[in-house]
Subunit: 160 residues, 2 copies
């Protein structure tokens, strides 16, 4: 849960760009820095809205292209949860986390579990896979929504 090391990611990105002769533009810098300061699991829409608060002329395509760039150089991860849109998060390996998702309200809770990670490595090894990344998502009802459900039942069927 420590703050991510943004310098590391900036370096990764710059190296990747240098290697390919890509250029550093106002839009790219703005999108990247906005992404760095956004909450996790941000969508293109949300990110574009943030970006446009600084520069209203940035287009969708540029955000898509920049996020693809970040994904390619290992700075961001793409994630698809149940809703139809792709969300992005910092590829922060150091504090790698998985997700608990509430099927009622859509809330996303992050967690980390070393033992699970260790077991994953064992499984991959057993199948001869060289592991690059993983994704563990657990779907269920969060405490709040469970309470609401209980309240609904109580209201619908009052004791006489």
């Amino acid at each position: 849960m420590t703050a991510p090391n943004l310098e590391h990611f900036r370096t990764l990105l710059h190296e990747h760009m240098a290697k390919r002769g890509l250029r550093s533009t106002d839009q790219r810098r703005l999108i990247v820095e906005t992404f760095f300061q956004s909450p996790n699991h941000i969508s293109i829409e949300e990110l574009l809205a943030q970006v446009r608060q600084q520069d209203s002329r940035v287009g969708y395509a540029t955000v898509y292209r920049t996020l693809k760039l970040l994904t390619e150089c290992g700075v961001a991860f793409e994630r698809k949860f149940g809703d139809g849109l792709t969300r992005y998060e910092l590829a922060d390996e150091e504090s790698h986390h998985d997700h608990l998702i509430c099927v009622e309200c859509g809330k996303i809770v992050e967690f980390e579990e070393r033992q699970i990670e260790a077991l994953q490595e064992k499984v991959a090894e057993r199948h001869g896979f060289a592991l690059k990344s993983h994704k563990l998502e657990m779907y269920g009802t969060c405490p709040e929504c469970q309470a609401k459900a209980t309240a609904r039942v109580a209201a619908a069927k009052p004791r006489n």
Copy 2:
């Protein structure tokens, strides 16, 4: 790895349909039975191709609608791996499995790991979640693609 209990799923579906006054048509039966006999992780395209071998007049929309029906009544699960399409699998809780996915060739290997499942329950409990389902996907390089990569490197840089 035992054969799934199809009768159980047929009952689930019939109950769901009865409850809602839905009807049993030739197309639905054909699509459902084809789905039951298909390999796991089938896409709409693939399923439609199979279905059309029996009845070439079935349309996309009907397959989409039927798979949505199966998903709603808990007979099928929707899954989105990296490629842009939704794949479906039997919601076979008994033999619940997770996935190892090769990032080179797209191969999907299923596995089961009781200890991981147990730890998942513990994590959910810790956060007060009532777990419904989960999804664990591990991405890496399969043994074959690792071998191919090694061969490529050897060819590109021969020892003199």
